[in-house]
């Protein structure tokens, strides 16, 4: 199983750091795509199948919350899991991001393990790194 991931951050350094974390995470990656702002990310999303997005907020041209808004309004994009990764982590920012459909929120500065754990979670891996357990048992509800 391999995935296409999109990293959206205006800092090339942060994109490189996240790429390294993903490389070391054990997640099979088919394509690791990059965009430096929300507008460019929309183009990438239009041209590629993407399984998950890692998204900064404070970016030029189109910020992360604006991109999230646009994705939530698009039938083809609204179900792509998005993990916010940002310094702007006020309660209002976190609330807005989740209301717009974000599946996770990582505050910079982060530990690599936080990114790995969040990424595995949104891609459907359980905490042991097994794929599909979480999807088969959503929330552990006992029927």
């Amino acid at each position: 199983m391999s995935f296409n991931l999109l990293i959206v951050d205006d800092s090339s350094s942060m994109r490189s750091v996240v790429k390294k974390i993903v490389d070391l995470s054990g997640v099979g990656v088919n394509q690791l795509l990059e965009a430096e702002n929300g507008r460019r990310a929309l183009e990438v999303l239009g041209d590629n199948w993407v399984d998950a997005v890692i998204l900064d907020i404070n970016m030029p041209e189109m910020n992360g919350l604006e991109l999230l808004q646009r994705m939530s309004e698009d039938a083809l994009l609204k179900n792509i899991p998005v993990v916010m990764m940002t310094t702007e982590a006020s309660e209002a920012h976190v609330k807005t991001a989740f209301e717009l459909g974000a599946k996770g929120f990582i505050r910079k500065p982060f530990l690599p393990e936080e990114v790995r754990r969040m990424l595995l979670g949104v891609l459907g891996f359980d905490e042991k790194g097994d794929y599909g357990e979480r999807q088969r048992d959503p929330g552990g509800v006992d029927f």
Binding site: V17, E88, A89, S90, P109
Partner: protein, 148 residues
């Protein structure tokens, strides 16, 4: 203001240790810095944060963050890392200052020719630090007022 100083210091240490693996010590006044990044914020409080570096410290940040050899570090790497450091320190500071309030931040701006410190030192909090590679300084200017 004492509270602001404590929060700022904690925010700086957290960013530099977690992201850049640089362990800072309080230091004496820095020599003339080689570069800086500045970022403005607005919200319940308004202000500007500047982080000023000597070049060896800026290059160490790049090497540690990206895992590069010294010879592979370029000027665009330095500018990007210095801007991201300002972005993270400022965002971290504002969250620790009051996470229930919403602040907006500008995009950080890099300069290889740092400006002079403000003449009027009222409302300015500054810290000088030493690390293995040299010196750096953080200056926070808090203005009165701000968006309600």
């Amino acid at each position: 203001m004492e509270n602001v100083k404590e929060i700022l210091a904690a925010s700086i240490f957290e960013v530099f240790e977690r992201m850049f693996f640089i362990f800072l010590e309080p230091g004496g006044p820095a020599p003339i810095p080689d570069c800086e990044a500045a970022i403005r914020f607005d919200g319940p409080r308004r202000g500007t944060m500047r982080i000023l570096f000597t070049r060896p410290v800026a290059r160490l940040m790049v090497r540690n963050l990206l895992g590069l050899d010294n010879g592979a570090v370029t000027e665009p790497h330095v500018a990007d890392c210095v801007k991201e450091a300002a972005n993270m320190v400022c965002g971290n500071f504002l969250v620790h200052l009051d996470a229930t309030k919403t602040f907006t931040m500008t995009l950080p701006e890099f300069s290889a020719r740092p400006g002079q410190p403000p003449d009027d030192r009222r409302g300015v909090v500054s810290f000088d630090f030493d690390c293995d590679a040299g010196k750096m300084r953080v200056e926070l200017t808090m203005e009165t007022g701000g968006r309600a």
